[in-house]
C-alpha cells in the first residue's frame, strides 16, 4: 500500500524530469480516461485524442507536487 503511494510520486518526479519510461507508464495509466473523453457520440475523435494527450503532457509538467 505504502509503496504504491510513493511509487506514484516517484513516477511523477521521473516523468517531470524527462524520463520516457515514467512518462509512458503514466500514459498507460490514464489512457482509458483520455479515450473516454475523446468520444463524440460513440465515435472516436482522433484529433481530440491527440489534443488530450497534449493536455496530459502539459499536466505532468505543470503539476506541483
Amino acid at each position: 500500500m505504502d509503496s504504491d503511494r510513493t511509487k506514484f510520486e516517484a513516477l511523477l518526479l521521473h516523468a517531470k524530469n524527462g524520463d520516457k519510461n515514467a512518462q509512458e507508464e503514466i500514459f498507460r495509466m490514464y489512457r482509458p480516461l483520455l479515450i473516454k473523453n475523446a468520444m463524440d457520440k460513440n465515435l472516436f475523435d482522433e484529433d481530440l485524442y491527440q489534443e488530450l494527450s497534449a493536455t496530459l503532457i502539459s499536466c505532468i509538467r505543470t503539476f506541483q507536487i
Partner: protein, 149 residues
C-alpha cells in the same frame, strides 16, 4: 502525516488532469461545432449557382407574380369604390387618354411595357402617367368625401 500527503498526490493529480481534460474537450467541441456550421454554410453557397438558368427563371416568375398581386390589391380598392357612384362619375370625367391608361392597366392587366407600346411612349412614362391618373382619382374622391354625398 507523510502517508496522507503521499496518498493524496495521485488523487490530486488525477483531479487536476480530469479538470484540464474536460475543459479542453469542451473547447474542442465548441470549435468543432463552429467549424461544421461554417462548412455547411459554405456548401450551401456552393450549391447556389447563380449562373443556373432554372433558379434565375423561377425567381423572375415569382417576382412577376408578386407584382400582379400588388396590382390586384389596387384593383380591389377600385372595385370597392365602384359600388359608389362617386368613382364612376370621377372616371367619366377623365380625359380619353387617362381612361385608356386606367382601363388597360386595371382591366386589361397590361404591363407598363405593353402599355407603353400601345401609347407609343416609354415604359417609365407609362408608369408615371398611370399613377398620375390614380392620384387624380383619389384626390377627386377625397374632395367628394369632404363635401358629403
Amino acid at each position: 502525516m507523510k502517508e496522507q500527503y503521499n496518498d493524496s498526490i495521485q488523487n490530486r493529480f488525477t483531479a487536476y488532469l480530469v479538470a484540464a481534460v474536460v475543459h479542453r474537450r469542451i473547447r474542442y467541441m465548441e470549435q468543432k461545432r463552429k467549424r461544421i456550421d461554417h462548412e455547411r454554410i459554405l456548401m450551401d453557397l456552393l450549391e447556389k449557382n447563380y449562373l443556373d438558368f432554372d433558379t434565375q427563371f423561377h425567381a423572375y416568375v415569382s417576382e412577376r407574380e408578386n407584382a400582379v398581386v400588388r396590382d390586384w390589391v389596387q384593383f380591389r380598392e377600385i372595385l370597392d369604390l365602384l359600388g359608389s357612384r362617386k368613382l364612376v362619375r370621377a372616371v367619366e370625367r377623365l380625359k380619353e387618354r387617362e381612361k385608356t391608361l386606367l382601363f388597360a392597366r386595371v382591366f386589361g392587366e397590361l404591363s407598363f411595357t405593353e402599355l407603353a407600346e400601345m401609347l407609343d411612349i416609354n415604359p417609365k412614362q407609362a408608369e408615371m402617367a398611370y399613377y398620375y391618373v390614380v392620384r387624380k382619382l383619389r384626390k377627386e374622391l377625397e374632395v367628394w368625401m369632404r363635401h358629403g354625398q
